[in-house]
């Protein structure tokens, strides 16, 4: 396969995300800009400009009308996907680490980090207004969760719970109505770097700096599968179709990269068999650690964003789909 290289950022990528149909790919990086791309040919649709700090996170709603982004400039912004206009900006005390639309597009989850005396917050905003409506400045719900810092979060099935991954390697279920921590389980030994839901949100995959990625059941937070590698992981994603694979990626810490060659840095996307926990293949190409991976919802392509500032979009060859794992 020939990867398409997207050079829309000047600094390292922080998150990439496909929309529901997978025709658009959104990428954010530390260089303040949000980019939108057509995933099939890598053409850039446009940029969303307005942030004045590193953008940590991005999410798009299911109808691809609203785009949310969270940044280190202490704001989260809501954009019109079609024309790049900012329609709402929320101001916080600290940087925004994660934004996520609920399954029904009615709510927006925003996680802010603790800093300079301000506690971490989990906030839920009502975005039912959509493109035209007014959006309240006040959250519908705000909680200051106790315990270690939340690094990643996502909505559970039917928006009942929020799944949060924390700095100490634990995952927690937070009730989306009351904000109580319902249950918690320490599955990793080091900080969680990514958390992505399966299509039906009954299980999710986590990646961690402890060099493992794990599949975890949402309802019980029970560990289902574990994928152990030799390098700190930054991202993990589940293949929705065609093959029972997960894709995980990472690499040596950015700060140590200059001391190693690209080969030793292990900057590869690794394909693991989801059920048999066996590694099946690797895709190399990045010059730096892989920060974020996203898989096209139809499972025919995937994209990875790296510390090197590139997004690489890979469309699988035909033999990928005919491959059968032999036991």
């Amino acid at each position: 396969m020939r990867p398409i290289l997207l050079q829309g950022h000047e600094r390292s990528l922080t998150q990439i995300k496909y929309n529901r149909e997978g025709d658009l790919l959104f990428s954010v990086s530390k260089d303040h800009v949000v980019n939108a791309w057509f995933s099939h040919n890598g053409e850039r649709l446009g940029t969303y400009e307005g942030h004045i700090g590193a953008v940590w996170t991005v999410d798009v709603n299911s109808t691809s009308t609203l785009l949310a982004s969270g940044s280190a400039d202490n704001t989260a912004k809501l954009w019109d996907v079609s024309n790049g206009k900012c329609i709402k900006s929320w101001e916080f005390n600290t940087a925004v680490r994660r934004v996520a639309f609920s399954e029904d597009d009615k709510n927006l989850l925003i996680i802010t980090e603790p800093r300079m005396g301000f506690p971490a917050t989990v906030q839920i905003f009502n975005v039912e207004g959509g493109l035209e409506g007014e959006h309240s400045n006040e959250p519908e719900m705000i909680v200051h969760p106790e315990g270690p810092k939340i690094t990643v979060a996502a909505w559970g099935a039917l928006n009942k719970y929020i799944v949060a991954g924390r700095e100490n390697g634990s995952v927690a279920l937070i009730d989306a109505k009351t904000g109580d921590v319902v249950s918690s389980n320490t599955v990793h030994e080091a900080t969680l770097t990514d958390l992505q839901m399966s299509t039906d949100r009954t299980y999710f995959i986590t990646s961690s700096k402890d060099k493992t990625a794990k599949l975890i059941e949402t309802a019980t937070l029970r560990e289902l599968k574990s994928f152990s590698t030799d390098t700190p992981l930054n991202s993990a994603a589940i293949m929705p179709k065609h093959q029972e694979f997960v894709v995980i990626g990472g690499g040596q810490e950015a700060m140590d990269v200059t001391r190693t060659s690209a080969r030793q840095g292990k900057f590869e996307c690794r394909f693991w068999h989801k059920i048999l926990e066996e590694e099946v293949g690797r895709v190399r190409g990045h010059f730096g650690p892989i920060n974020t991976i996203a898989i096209h919802p139809d499972g025919r392509s995937f994209a990875s964003g790296g510390e090197d500032g590139y997004v690489r979009v890979h469309h699988f060859d035909d033999d990928f789909f005919t491959f059968k794992f032999q036991i």
């Binding site: 997207l6 446009g46 491959f323």
Partner: protein, 288 residues
Amino acid sequence: MPAPKNASWADEVEYEGEDQVETWTDANGITTTIEYRINEDGKKVKVTRRTQKKLIHDRVNKSVAARKKWAKFGKERGNKPGPDPATTTVGENIKLKLSSTGQVVQDVDEKHEEMKAQLQNKKIACRICKGDHFTSKCPYKDSLGMEDAAATNAAAAEAKAAAEPEPSSGTGSKYIAPHLRGGAGAGSGPSSGVGGSKMGDSAREKRDEQPTLRVTNLSEDVTEPDVYELFNRFGHISRVFLARDRETNVCKGFAFVSFTMREDAQRALEAVDGRGYDNLILHVEWAK
């Protein structure tokens, strides 16, 4: 193209360069464009471009089709449709090799590391000048190498250096593939485990040293995975090359299969040579 009359003399130079462009389309639907132009060094170069257009129909969601028509915005405002080469480029081809035995990748690496460790203490001696580099990298290769081939042969024998022994037949100047030389099985080490210093060179050297079979009389429908499957049962395969037609992309009828172990290759040769495959009789021999 002659320069327009009213162009200034400065423009004339520009016009000289871009002249006749030939374009034709052949039976396979491949359009060939040949143009002659003058490059930065002032030399005339011929640029041949061969393109094949394929119209692919794809049914998409209505909303996806609507989004394709959106005007560009932000930094892309006003740009014409289609990928902009400034932001979108196509990378080099990457093969995602899927394997059912998760260990394959690591195993090879470990072997490599092992070899490296073994070679750490071994002294590398050039057969030509006795320096501590490989014969192929010898700076005197061209000046000394050819005329003194016989002499170096003798010298090598005397010194019984770590390098692989030369074939005993008197034809010192005749090239013999490394894996066919006497001690290839055991002595493939010295030059294959170069290590990380020059990845490109060492990789190529390694490849050249590997026992390679040439498989001929393959049918047109054969693909790399087929060949791989056919030979995989005999041992670990490091490389499969299937010759394909540039235009039609069908198999040209022969392939090269490199094994990691010479014994495996030998067994494969014996087993597959003369065997029927896809209603053709395969012919397998050592690649030369």
